[in-house]
Amino acid sequence: MNRQQAKGIIETLLFISTRPLTLERLREVFDREINRAAIKTILDELIAEYQGRNLQLVEIGGRYQLCTRPEYSPWIKKFYQIEKSTKLSQAALETLAIIAYKQPITRVEIEEIRGVESGGVLRTLLEKKLVKVLGRKNVPGKPLMYGSTWEFLQYFGLKDLSELPSLKDKELQDPAGPAESVVQPLCGDINSPQDIEQLRIPD
């Protein structure tokens, strides 16, 4: 198998799949006889080639997908008579932001930050698969811990969690005051319980 053929196969598979594909899934088709690096190079080449085209190849959360360009959406909507898409509520968006930056996080910890009961919003997010249960926290009551999903990245078009906008807020930063810790998006393995930080409970 030469490289050009492998590229053709990869582009073909990206085209026929209606779902985004991981590098590993693509490798399986070659019986893993092509190494990851080679596939990554081909994918990067394809992404670059598509930059000059009417379609685009995007990487989201480690998955690759051929998709349309945003500027053509009015015609797609017209063609398929798609109505305006429903957006997430402010409450859902807020909760989602907290989960994305603070994962793994429990419901009580989310409510601590939001200042309001958040069970209903959390349920909606679970149903929409934008968040998932990561496990249980090792504290009394063993509450569930939540984190963001791959669908979360897709919904917002993020390549990975490191692409989350930074939380630093200039306006509210007090230069004289104690250095407010900037919450950094978590990029690594978020499943290990060591990563759990105790949130201070205001009394």
Partner: protein
């Protein structure tokens, strides 16, 4: 009914919680978040709550808790600062507002983050992928990319949507899967090949009966006699006769 047509009402409903309302008041008054004039803010905060009450608007109990907290801070501000046993006066920990300021700052960060995410959401809503072909959909129904939560969720909703009216002893052979299979197909035939899940389970109050019906549906999907469709998440589930499979003589 609340007079929801007044612009005032609409504005009130925007607040996601007490912290949201407080941030609004701080911004409106153009005061320093590190030096909140607590008497002024408390007064305005309580005014808002009173207004909401007058307008008969529901607000979460957390709003009331915050009002109490504000009033407590206000009264503590009036007390003289007492040095701790070592004779130290710690401005940082002794300012009764400190706790609240930290909470507001923390909440503010995520409010901003949500705003940034909103932009991403808008952009991504304009990107489309290939539309799934109808002919491959029955295949997709069979092989779902699901998590454990999906299953439990499906089950939970099923059981909760139909809270049992009465619990009675029933023998196992009273509800047979085969009966439910034929019942579903019969109902489908009666209603021209399309049936909503809700109307199918109408009048079924016993959990076991619902469970068996649910399993019967899955079994029919498996044998490609029916298709289950949902036009959107949380939407009504529709049961369709699977014409394609019938013509292929699939068993």
């Amino acid at each position: 009914m609340s007079p929801s047509s007044t612009p005032f009402t609409i504005k009130l409903q925007v607040f996601e919680g007490p912290l949201d309302l407080l941030l609004h008041l701080i911004k409106q008054n153009q005061v320093d978040i590190y030096d909140i004039p607590i008497a002024l803010i408390t007064e305005q905060y309580v005014e808002y709550l009173e207004l909401m009450t007058q307008l008969n608007l529901d607000f979460a109990s957390e709003f009331l808790v915050m009002a109490a907290t504000l009033i407590e801070i206000k009264s503590r501000m009036l007390l003289p600062v007492i040095p701790d046993p070592e004779g130290q006066i710690n401005q940082q920990t002794d300012d009764p507002r400190e706790e609240l300021v930290q909470r507001l700052l923390e909440y503010q960060k995520f409010k901003e983050a949500a705003l940034a995410l909103r932009k991403h959401e808008g952009h991504q809503a304009e990107v489309f992928t290939r539309i799934e072909d109808d002919s491959t959909e029955s295949e997709k129904d069979l092989f779902l990319d699901v998590s454990m939560f999906d299953l439990l969720e499906a089950f939970r909703r099923l059981l909760q949507e139909k809270a049992p009216e009465q619990i009675r002893e029933i023998t196992r052979d009273e509800i047979l899967l085969i009966d439910k299979l034929s019942y579903i197909l019969e109902q489908l035939e009666k209603r021209g090949g399309k049936l909503s899940f809700l109307s199918l389970t109408e009048g079924m109050n016993h959990k076991l009966e619902l469970i068996v019906t649910f399993l019967a549906l899955l079994e029919l999907v498996h044998h490609r006699l029916i298709k289950l469709r949902q036009s959107r998440p949380f939407g009504q589930i529709w049961i369709w006769k699977d014409e394609s499979a019938a013509s292929q003589g699939h068993n």
